[in-house]
Amino acid sequence: MSTLAIDKAGPTRKVKLRSMSRDRTWALRWSYFFLVLFAIFFLIPPIYMLITSLKSSAEISAATNPWWVFHPTLSNYVELLTSNQFLRFFWNSSMISIVVVIVTMLISIPAAFALARMKFWGSATLATGVFLTYLIPDSLLFIPLFKVLATVQEFTGIPLLNRWYVLVFIYPTLTVPFCTWIMIGYFASIPKELDEAALIDGASWLQTLTRIFIPVALPGLIAATIFAFTVSWAQFLYPLVFTTSIDQLVLPVGITTTLIKGDVFNWGQIMTGALLGAAPPLVIYAFLMDYYIAGLTAGATKG
């Protein structure tokens, strides 16, 4: 055995002498292989959604090739986009997500600035605490939250349950901790001398934040915005629990509750609704991603 091993040492040495470019070629081939694999894996569901959304109910239930559309139709789209119900869900989702993003930013940015820069007693512990609150799963929180809202409604008489706007107060409990955490990281990476220079130049803390920190940490701000929007847009559990009337529902809950009647699944419209629901985040990512990347590379060389 040992002699065999020695004989084999020859070709192994040859492998070591391979040129860099050949190594690189192989690395690239493997990269492409896995990237294609990933792309297929992640693209199959949306493609299947698209195919199904173009079929009539009859064709969906027919035993034909599910990956091909024999009689394409836009009837699902027409029906959904002309139904007031679906547009209402869309409107509710949009309003909630936009307001949540604004509320989150208004809280997270000053909070992150304070935690990253104003060294006060317990600031480090508080920063960790903020992140830890994010780790509590929302499935544990919705019952106590419901109790809190019910109690407040009972005492104050303000209608809170089954109202879409209450989600605007609840979603930030999910978005603020994480966005604050992201922003702390970005703010902390800004050299200390920059705020000292601003301080000497005569800027107040607020001016330092708005005129130096926010523009410099713009990539982080965009990352946080994308996160907050995605969380609000895709949230399912909270709206399912806190809203029940049809006119108060958001998209994900609305689609599943109104398009599934008993054991009848209106697959064509479900897929169309899901596809239309996925469009706004896609458009926003496509638009912001350019700025995001540009911001990242601009920040790479320290000014």
Binding site: P191, I200, D201
Partner: protein, 366 residues
């Protein structure tokens, strides 16, 4: 413009005393350099003058007013940082005018001041660029421009040239000196580079372990250092310190370096040191330029001795020679044509007219 005064200024972080009671008077228009090894408290002192650090004890005065509790923006100072600290999202002009815009100066005056500062620093062409499009030297000019446009009472520089390469550093050093000659603003400049300190300063403040070792003009520090620390810190290559003691030989005061080497002191030095106890352990401080090749005609007070060189370093205009005196490494500077070779014997001359004598235990120059 104004004078700056520090009175028994102390800075304590928890249980570490970074600055241990500093007294310093800086007069109007003066260029003061704080120099010392890292951790000596020079940057902390500067930051306390800027108001970026609270002072634990003592008083800081700018223009006669105690500014201990005055925030940085109201102290009327400008600071240039080691890493420039330019605002990366603003153009050069916006960077320079930021402070003025915050104070709501009229647009015309801002423009005039920025243009004037840009002209002074030769960055007029760069005015619309962003910091990332500038080289290190250009960024440092912009940082200086930002300080100049404010027309402050005091300029504070915190190691502004440390991030530049050696050649650019020399160039910018001259620029800073030129700018100071034109604007004449009181300046406090921190560096760990003694060459920068010597070349720029009206007066140099040598700091060590949170205390001021000596304050003086560059020449004073070089020729009349007060302590071993200052003597060793100022000058490159550093001063040699050779253990020695005084002895009486035939009624004359001699200095004994080794068993073989004992030199009679020049009359002026002999008179100065005559009262010192003969048995005390002393150090002879002698700069490399006062250890040269031997000539046929020697000045009075110059003594020769033979040694074997360990290493030679030809520098072009001079050759540095290294040898040992009873285990003490010594450096000398000889003429490049004096024939100094690695491992070769050589006769060297020591100019005792320029010697220093130090107490080995206390480090005080006698």
């Amino acid at each position: 413009m104004a004078e700056v005064a520090l009175r028994k200024v102390v800075k304590r972080y928890d249980d570490v005393e970074a600055v241990r009671g500093i007294d310093l008077d800086i007069s109007d228009h003066e260029f003061i350099v704080l120099v010392g090894p890292s951790g000596c408290g020079k940057s902390t002192t500067l930051r306390m003058i800027a108001g970026l650090e609270d002072i634990t004890d003592g008083d800081i005065m700018i223009g006669g007013d105690v500014v201990n509790d005055v925030p940085p923006k109201d102290r009327d100072i400008a600071m240039v940082f080691q890493n420039y600290a330019l605002y990366p999202h603003m153009t050069v002009a916006e960077n320079m005018s930021f402070g003025l815009r915050l104070k709501h100066y009229p647009k015309a005056e801002i423009k005039a001041r920025v243009t004037e500062a840009a002209r002074l620093l030769d960055i007029t062409d760069l005015i619309d660029r962003k910091p990332k499009q500038l080289s290190g030297g250009q960024r440092q000019r912009v940082a200086m421009g930002r300080a100049i446009v404010r027309n402050p009472k005091v300029f504070l520089f915190d190691e502004p040239l440390s991030n530049l390469d050696a050649k650019l550093r020399v160039q910018m050093r001259i620029e800073i000196k030129k700018v100071h000659q034109k604007v004449r603003t009181t300046t406090v400049y921190v560096t760990h580079d003694q060459v920068e300190a010597m070349t720029l300063a009206d007066r140099v403040v040598v700091m060590n372990k949170g205390r001021i070792e000596q304050i003086g003009t560059p020449n004073e520090l070089y020729h009349k250092p007060a302590t071993r620390f200052v003597a060793g810190f100022i000058g490159s290559p550093a001063m040699n310190f050779i253990p020695c003691r005084l002895e009486e030989v035939g009624g004359k005061l001699n200095i004994r370096l080794t068993d073989r080497i004992s030199f009679p002191l020049p009359p002026a030095r002999a008179a100065r040191y005559s009262a010192l106890p003969r048995s005390e352990n002393l150090l002879l401080g002698i700069r490399p330029e006062h250890l040269t090749e031997s000539h046929a005609h020697l000045e009075p007070g110059v003594e020769t001795f033979d040694t074997v060189l360990d290493v030679t370093e030809p520098m072009g205009m001079e050759t540095l020679v290294y040898f040992g005196l009873e285990g003490t490494p010594v450096c000398g500077r000889v003429d490049p044509n004096a024939g100094a070779k690695d491992g070769a014997p050589m006769r060297l001359a020591m100019d005792l007219n320029n010697m220093h004598l130090l107490n080995e235990a206390t480090g005080v120059v006698l």
